[in-house]
């Protein structure tokens, strides 16, 4: 029994049609376009939920194992007899889960934007871009073919580019969007080459066949892939690592993370949707998609994933402690949490109990989508109220925006991993997996968890406490918290942040598709929870009331603080490499070489010809006498020639 193809196909197609409609006729629709977009998104989300229900409870499980189901496959572009790009739809636990996450968060953001973006001149354009993004993201998660993933990967990148640069008259937004696109594009180069390597080794691009052919030791494809090596590393490892580079670019892993903080220039709902909940986890999704190959054929690559993940996680957490722009704090926290997901995959095994990390990673992806979207939307409503992103402009808002306050607190507790909020459960799984596999990663993960609690509550206290409540008659605080459309998503997401942790995730999403029990050991949880509480307490000490402590601390750790505040100078390094090295050492010489040497050579040929012509032309001076001289000299010359030399 197969799930309903049309139903599934409609999930991405509805946003696409909405994109076309709004893109072409948006101006005429005006404010109605938002409603239209939201309505179509709701339908799409409904279908996604229906599909998830069908898949998880009816058709997906055969013999106790969740199946990979290709419900649709079309030869889109044939390359060689074996290799083709197909457009298809693949259902398996992670893609179904992602369908739900994407459509749900997207729906929330659509609703929220009705209020947040109200009065915006390009309101309909905004909605059409949102629809385009949703379409691309859905296409990405449904891909049945590695190359199809790449196609939608690029589309996701461009819609992210368009949305970051939505306020296109702001130069900072334009440069942030360019940065995001180019950095991820650079990563995509790795992805593309990885696809070429894997695809040509396995002689297919279909996920099913690809994984099938590359995980069995006796498979000839795998043997050639391992046998052929480049620079001492096998082709398979290269391919997987390069694909991971692509994933790392999208998921803002160190050192390709630089675009993410800048991407916060986009409208806040966009940050919530793209740069917190959905697109940035695409890298995790990609690794999870190819997880069998990683774990069964190439554990080395998986170790790289783990270490990059844990490093990014710690690195981002340190930076997040020092940032003052609230959206940037959230961006670094996103990076840190994605690092969590990555290293969770890295420490995971494949079958049974060993697959805890995989499950935890996916679980964390799921819960993180909820509370991080909530955090961003909450931050959005704060920004909507204050008209500033800077912490120093905020403080004491708890009375002025009670709903935002409460929901934001819930989200902070969730991300800090305090039971019984959602983040607690997923984090436990991840830390447990790390504990079994690799103690170093485990301890670093613990530290990161504590820091997460600290910086999140630093954020929370700075926004809602710290200063006395602003007086009611304050100049620009003219309106309340925001319209109902903005509050509703906050409610729903807060509800989710509290409740989704109780979903028995192991029943649905595991590496091998089989049941895995979510087990909790209260003894194990003591360490992380108490560390998190310690972090919260520290933050309370520092930031609940305005005091001198943070400044003193900053001074006493000046070097570390300054470098963390400047994001460890990664941006400067990039700037140096791109602006100085690439532009000056490659671009400029190439342009110069072209104009001077190559074109100069052409001009030289032309110049020589015309110069020669000029010379000959000089003889035709119109001066009769010089003709006569030449004539006479010629006669003499011939005379000598004929008389003496002949």
């Amino acid at each position: 029994m197969m799930p309903d193809t049309i139903l599934i196909a409609l999930i991405p197609i509805i946003p696409f049609l909405c994109f076309l409609l709004l893109g072409l006729t948006g101006k005429k629709l005006g404010a109605f376009s938002g409603l239209l977009g939201t309505a179509s998104m709701a339908v799409s989300a409904g279908f996604a939920a229906l599909t998830a229900y069908q898949y998880f409870f009816h058709v997906g499980k055969i013999d106790g194992v969740f199946q990979k189901m290709v419900v649709f496959n079309y030869h889109w572009l044939q390359f060689t007899p074996e290799i083709s790009i197909n457009m298809g739809m693949l259902l398996d636990p992670i893609s179904v889960m992602m369908l739900v996450v994407v459509t749900f968060v997207s729906l929330m953001v659509h609703i929220y934007s009705l209020g947040y973006m109200k009065g915006e001149e390009r309101f309909s354009v905004f909605y059409s871009f949102l629809s385009l993004f949703t379409f691309s993201m859905l296409g990405l998660v449904l891909s049945a073919n590695l190359f199809q993933t790449y196609i939608f990967w690029e589309l996701v990148g461009v819609s992210s580019f368009l949305l970051i640069g939505f306020y296109y008259t702001k130069p900072s937004a334009v440069s942030a969007s360019k940065k995001a696109f180019i950095v991820t594009r650079f990563a995509d180069l790795g992805f593309l080459i990885g696809i070429l390597i894997l695809g040509f080794n396995a002689k297919t691009l279909d996920f099913g066949l690809l994984i099938e052919r590359l995980i069995h030791v006796e498979s000839p494809y795998l043997q050639t892939a391992i046998a052929s090596s480049f620079m001492g590393v096998s082709a398979l490892t290269w391919g997987l690592l390069l694909i991971f580079v692509g994933g790392a670019g999208k998921s803002a892993m160190f050192p390709l993370h630089v675009w993410l903080p800048d991407a916060m220039e986009g409208p806040t709902p966009v940050s919530a949707l793209i740069h917190a909940a959905t697109m940035v986890v695409a890298g995790v999704f990609l690794v999870a998609r190819l997880f069998p190959i990683f774990i069964l054929s190439c554990p080395v690559a998986l170790d790289v994933v783990a270490y990059v993940g844990i490093f990014s996680s710690l690195f981002a957490a340190i930076i997040a402690c020092t940032q003052t722009d609230i959206k940037r704090v959230l961006a670094y926290s996103t990076m840190s949490q994605i690092g969590y997901m990555m290293f969770a995959l890295g420490v995971s095994g494949y079958e049974g109990e060993a697959g805890l990390g995989y499950m935890g990673s996916m679980f964390h992806l799921f819960t993180h989508a909820m509370f991080k979207a909530l955090l961003f939307l909450g931050a959005g409503s704060v920004i909507h109220y204050i008209h500033s992103n800077e912490m120093k402009d905020m403080g004491g808002l708890r009375k002025a925006m009670p709903i935002t306050h409460i929901t934001f607190l819930i989200a902070c507790l969730a991300i800090a991993g305090i039971p019984p909020f959602a983040g607690f459960f997923s984090k436990e799984e991840i830390l447990a997996a790390a504990f079994h596999k690799n103690p170093v990663i485990f301890y670093v993960g613990l530290i990161t968890a504590a820091m997460t609690a600290f910086y999140m509550f630093r954020l929370y206290f700075s926004i809602f406490w710290n200063k006395p409540t602003p007086s009611a008659g304050h100049d620009h605080h003219h309106h309340g918290e925001g319209p109902f459309t903005m509050m509703l998503p906050l409610f729903i997401l807060a509800l989710c942040s509290i409740s989704v942790g109780f979903i028995p995730f192991g029943q649905f999403v595991t590496a091998d598709g089989q049941f895995l029990a979510n087990e909790f050991h209260p003894m194990f949880s003591i360490a992380p929870v108490s560390l998190a509480l310690g972090g919260i307490f520290l933050a309370m000490l520092f930031y609940k009331n305005a005091n001198e402590l943070p400044a003193k601390l900053a001074v006493s750790m000046s070097v570390l603080y300054a470098s963390a505040y400047r994001k460890f100078y990664i941006d400067e390094v990039y700037l140096f490499v791109t602006k100085r090295l690439i532009f000056n050492l490659l671009g400029r010489p190439a342009a110069w070489f072209d104009r001077t040497i190559v074109d100069g050579l052409m001009n030289l040929i032309g110049g020589l010809t015309s110069g020669f012509a000029e010379m000959i032309r000089g003889l035709q001076s119109g001066k009769v006498q010089s003709y006569a001289i030449w004539f006479f000299a010629g006669v003499l010359g011939f005379a000598v020639l004929f008389i003496y030399l002949w």
Binding site: H75, W76, L77, Q78, F79, T80, I83, I85, F147, Y150, I151, F152, E154, L155, V158, F161, G165, Y168, T169, K170, P171, V174, S175, S177, K178, F181, I182, R185, F186, D188, L189, L192, I193, L196, F200, F230, F583, L586, G587, R588, A590, A591, F593, D594, V598, D599, L601, M602, G606
Partner: protein, 491 residues
């Protein structure tokens, strides 16, 4: 389907233009003629596919032969296969768009449209010719009007550019002619392509003649280091001429190199393949880096054309079925995309009177339509899925990767790397000219596109998307003929 019709329509259009006096009638005549031609091209495509479906397996369809100079073995010999049909379709689309974009041309409009029509006639004749002599004749017919178009209706240092372009292209066609005459001699006094393909020239002869023919056509495709006509020529040419130049005449080169060099001299093609690949890789990356530093929008697009045409050369040089298919796809895609890009630049220039990206800025606000067109062209150029550029580039990459040795792999990776550089320069250009705050007060009063520009842009965009969303129709059209060419290699 009578192929001579493809020549008669432009010819009668040209005659009509000569007879008419009013510019309004003339441009109407040109538009009608070109639209008829587009209709013919589509009909040809359908007729071709029908014939193939009915099981016609001959290499060239709709052949027509007429002895022109029997004593020298020169004849009119027409015939088409999938590759030429793709090119004819491309030409027809670009011509319609080009004529619509030059709707406002009032200065010596009669001569202008006449030259455009003649140029297109040259291109059609080139693509349907199976006789090397008549092919050369049409090649020249497509070159000469360009000189006049640039020198008379151009801008900037137009005489210099026009002369440079004409001389370099003439030089290229002179090389081609040498190669043709060589083949004619060695293959027993025939110019007929099909007979030449059967003639199996000796390897030494092929090695001697291949560089002439390939580099000669290479000049047309702006192969490194003979690409310098492109930036100057494009930047000086009027919009329609730029479109024709990039959309059509660079394709003459690619088609010629594939048909006349690789197909007729397969062993030499294999022998020279590494050299071609090196040149193409240089052109791709070097063109891309050179583009990064350009400040004039037309220069940016011209250099990016050098880079993109590098993919065509690379695809041809890699000599696999997929890569050759990719090369043809890239020709098709690049033709449409660059035409669109030049059209957008032309529209901007017409209104703002500058093409320097430093002087432009924030045009998205005042000219949303034109800016969108330019954005689409840019995104297509950087190989975004959904547009034709992606399909073509990926096919080239895939085909190149099939050659499983380090040299070819490295070349492929170099070519792949250009997608990043392309993104850098395209976004730089688009960002600086369209986004950001409005730099110049008077940009606030600029008008958006007119109806003719909208129709023409829409035509090009729809064609680009048609290939981007559904590449299989063109792919299926080209692949059998690409296979044939590769079979000639003995692979």
């Amino acid at each position: 389907m009578n192929l001579t019709l493809l020549l008669l329509v432009p010819l009668s259009t040209a005659l009509g233009i000569i007879l008419l006096r009013d510019v309004k009638h003339i441009r109407l005549m040109a538009a009608i003629g070109s639209i008829c031609q587009l209709g013919l091209a589509i009909k040809l495509l359908l007729a071709y596919q029908t014939a193939r479906l009915l099981g016609d397996t001959s290499q060239m369809l709709f052949q027509f032969k007429y002895a022109w100079y029997p004593s020298l073995g020169i004849q009119w010999h027409f015939g088409v296969d999938g590759i030429s049909i793709a090119m004819i379709l491309l030409t027809a689309i670009v011509v319609v768009a080009g004529i619509l974009f030059s709707w406002k041309m009032s200065f010596q409009g009669k001569e202008f449209f006449l030259l455009l029509v003649l140029l297109s006639m040259g291109a059609y004749g080139f693509f349907i010719s199976l006789d090397l002599f008549s092919l050369f004749f049409f090649l020249e017919l497509a070159v000469i009007p360009k000189y006049l178009l640039i020198a008379i209706w151009g801008s900037g240092k137009k005489e210099y550019s026009a002369t440079k372009l004409a001389l370099m292209l003439m030089g290229g066609s002179a090389l081609v002619l040498v190669g043709f005459l060589g083949m004619y001699e060695y293959a027993g006094k025939t110019f007929d392509m099909l007979q030449l393909a059967q003639a199996h020239l000796p390897l030494e002869v092929q090695k001697l003649l291949f560089p002439f023919v390939f580099m000669g056509f290479g000049v047309f495709t702006a192969i490194f280091p003979f690409h310098t006509w492109a930036p100057d020529g494009h930047s000086s040419a009027p919009t329609a001429a730029s479109m024709f130049l990039a959309g059509i005449s660079m394709k003459l080169g690619g088609y010629g190199a594939l048909r006349m060099a690789v197909y007729l001299m397969p062993e030499a093609a294999q022998y020279y393949s590494p050299l071609i690949i090196i040149l193409a890789s240089i052109a791709i990356l070097y063109g891309a880096f050179a583009t990064m530093m350009q400040k004039d929008l037309k220069y940016i697009n011209a250099y990016s054309s050098v880079s993109h045409c590098g993919f065509v050369i690379l695809g041809i040089g890699m000599l696999t079925r997929t890569s050759v298919t990719g090369a043809v796809l890239q020709m098709f895609s690049h033709g449409l995309m660059t035409a669109l890009f030049f059209a957008a630049i032309g529209m901007l220039y017409e209104r703002s009177h500058t093409r320097q990206i430093g002087e432009l800025g924030g045009l998205m606000k005042t000219m949303p339509f034109i800016s969108c067109v330019m954005f689409i062209a840019g995104l297509c150029s950087l190989g975004l899925p959904g547009f034709s550029g992606f399909v073509a580039e990926m096919t080239v990459f895939m085909g190149s990767w099939e050659n499983a040795d380090t040299f070819h792999r490295v070349a492929t990776i170099i070519a792949c790397a250009s997608i990043v550089v392309t993104a850098v320069y395209i976004l730089r250009a688009l960002g600086a000219s369209l986004l950001g705050p409005i730099k110049n007060e008077h940009f606030n009063h600029l008008a958006d596109a007119t109806w003719n520009e909208k129709i023409a842009s829409a035509l090009l965009i729809v064609s680009i998307m048609a290939l981007g969303f559904a590449p299989f129709w063109l792919n299926n059209l080209i692949t059998p003929d690409a296979t044939l060419i590769i079979h000639a290699l003995g692979k």
